[in-house]
């Protein structure tokens, strides 16, 4: 009996599917993948392949692949980029702006979410959230246009300062004033939209935890420290890792629309420099710059992800 049963079941066991049959059953799904696959191939992977010109002397007629390798084992353009007289200043500006953006932009939405979390009045909470989210929907073209009027030498901000007896601040021609304006508007623009993630995480915290803590005599501050913050820790680390990818992005959209010649010294960043290289037709050096930017960004994401995983013993991390 036992033996025949084995034979019967063996005969009816599905054969190991060949690739051809698997492809056939997967055909509809593969067709669904196809448009996205092609879009990424042509608009994302092809430019990555195009980065090769950073190592070559690009000749349009020969194409990316056919162009000859650059001097110094292909590193010629990198040597010229890093040795160029503009690079150090531009890199410094970029790092400084993005550092300031992180230092002020990272805690602000967390603080906003914590403050909103303490509000018991429903409509006020909602109204504040709605208002702070609005700047997220405006392009930097529009925002920069509004700021240019608001912070001009005769604009409302300076007339308000005048009422209190202050000298007008030349926001668009003084280096420090421009940096303050740049950073504060960047933080302001992202405030509400970045806080939403934290607000969502906070609304998931079990109310009974707070009640228990209250009965045990924990102060409000202790409750924030030991219940609220730990419960949004995962969200905070995810956002942090994502932000670190932008270490060399000082916010091109914003800077390009807000800066002008008189504040070039502090606001000329990698991306605006890259745009100039493009306009001058210096494609190879520009590609070397793009490569450097992408590479450093990737190292920062992978590195911070690895580090956070390590110190949190695999509890947090995105990859």
């Amino acid at each position: 009996m036992k033996k025949s049963a084995v034979i019967v079941s063996d005969a009816y066991l599905p054969k190991k599917k060949t690739l051809a049959t698997r492809l056939k059953t997967n055909l509809p799904l593969l067709l669904m993948i196809l448009p996205g696959f092609l879009a990424l191939l042509f608009f994302h992977y092809k430019p990555i392949y195009g980065l090769l010109i950073a190592f070559k002397n690009y000749k349009f007629k020969l194409g990316v692949f056919g162009s000859p390798w650059a001097a110094n084992n292909g590193m010629e353009h990198f040597i010229r980029l890093f040795g160029g007289n503009e690079f150090a200043g531009v890199l410094g500006n970029t790092l400084w702006i993005s550092l300031l953006r992180m230092v002020f932009g990272w805690p602000s939405p967390i603080i906003l979410a914590l403050l909103l979390n303490e509000i018991r009045c429903g409509w006020f909470k909602k109204l504040t959230q709605t208002l702070t989210y609005i700047p997220h929907f405006f392009s930097w073209v529009v925002l920069a246009g509004i700021f240019r009027m608001m912070f001009s030498s005769v604009g409302p901000v300076n007339s308000l300062l005048g009422v209190f007896g202050f000298e007008p601040i030349p926001f668009y021609s003084n280096n420090t004033a421009f940096l303050v304006l740049l950073i504060s508007t960047a933080v302001w623009q992202a405030l509400g939209s970045s806080a939403v993630v934290y607000i969502a995480a906070l609304s998931g915290v079990d109310e009974s935890l707070y009640e228990a803590a209250y009965i045990d005599g924990a102060s409000k501050w202790k409750q924030v420290l030991h219940i609220t913050l730990p419960s949004i820790m995962g969200t905070i680390t995810t956002v942090t890792i994502m932000n670190l990818a932008n270490v060399l992005n000082a916010g091109f959209d914003q800077v390009y629309n807000m800066y002008n010649y008189s504040v070039y010294d502090v606001s000329d960043i990698l991306d605006t420099y890259s745009l100039r290289l493009l306009a001058d037709g210096r494609y190879e050096i520009g590609a070397a710059l793009s490569f450097f930017k992408s590479f450093v960004g990737m190292i920062f994401v992978l590195g911070s992800n690895w580090f956070i995983k390590k110190i949190s013993k695999d509890e947090y991390g995105i990859l």
């Binding site: 990424l40 392009s139 009027m149 409000k220």
Partner: protein, 295 residues
């Protein structure tokens, strides 16, 4: 009911004050721009905060000028085209890819996941992307507005995690009834996925509406630029003459300053967003929780 201590009450008052101040910083720029856009020359050139338009000094001349301008309407047309076509296309492509990734039986899944995840880590950058667009012959083609934005890794991951939450039994019963993957997708999955589709559509639509960089970089034909790029020229390159020149003779008498014209042009691009915003806000906030991306 938890009672509040004295310290908490004081904190509460400060909390309200801080939040009101934050709210005011977002409201004020809007009020200022609006009030400037309807101000007469006299009102606009007087100092002050311009929180509300001065009574008796209100004019619609800046708007008349903006609306008379053919160029801005044409640019508006391109913006609407890219927002509608681009959003429909991108939502479809994103949901297809995300849905396929959410299916347990997908072949070469690891590859397709890695293929899209990698794009979050590494990209070609400004100059290789420009050269690529040029080599593809898309300079001055309106498709440059649509094609590069068809798919993004983040949106796809969000879509995928939503689709993965739909019970597998629904798929199986559809299959037993003889429906193929496409039919299952459109007749079973899509109706159940309205929240995520709405959220993605809004994210993408806002990105299209506000995009200007591609128009500046890849479109040299000034008759094909989008409205944000047009505004960029007027506002940030101080090229108000672009508008004012058109009716120079009339303008001499009109009640205009470059500030009021700029404000009017800005209002024209943000009014549609402000009109939609109250109705769609919940989708933006919901999207964050829908797309609670894990792993």
């Amino acid at each position: 009911m938890i009672q509040r201590t004295r310290g908490e009450k004081i904190f509460n008052v400060f909390n309200y004050i801080i939040l009101i101040l934050i709210g005011v910083t977002t409201l004020y720029p809007l009020l200022y721009t609006f009030s400037m856009s309807v101000s007469t020359k006299l009102a606009a050139e007087s100092g002050g905060l311009h929180i509300l338009p001065t009574w008796g000094q209100i004019t619609l001349d800046p708007y008349k000028l903006v609306f008379q301008n053919v160029e801005i309407w044409r640019a508006y047309g391109y913006t609407i085209f890219r927002t509608v076509v681009g959003t429909v296309g991108a939502v479809l492509v994103t949901c297809f890819y995300g849905y396929a990734l959410s299916r347990p039986n997908l072949i070469w899944k690891k590859f397709f996941v890695g293929y899209i995840t990698f794009t979050m880590l590494f990209s070609g950058g400004q100059i290789p992307i420009y050269l690529n667009i040029r080599d593809l012959g898309l300079i001055n083609s309106v498709w440059v507005y649509i094609l590069p934005m068809l798919i993004s890794a983040y949106n796809t991951v969000v879509a995928r995690s939503f689709f993965a939450g739909i019970p597998e039994a629904l798929n199986e019963s559809a299959k037993i009834d003889g429906a193929g993957e496409f039919r299952t997708f459109f007749q079973i999955i899509v109706p159940l996925s309205k929240p995520i589709i709405m959220t993605l559509a809004l994210w993408i639509a806002v990105a299209h509406w506000n995009a200007w960089f591609d128009s500046m970089m890849y479109i040299t034909d000034q008759k094909k630029i989008v409205v944000q790029q047009y505004i960029q020229r007027i506002v940030n390159e101080s090229a108000t003459e672009r508008i004012t020149d058109l009716g120079a003779a009339e303008n001499a008498a009109a009640n205009l300053t470059s500030e009021t014209v700029k404000s009017g042009s800005i209002m024209v691009t943000i009014i549609p967003i402000l009109c939609f915003y109250p109705f769609v806000q919940k989708f933006f906030i919901k999207g964050v929780t829908l797309g609670a991306v894990k792993g």
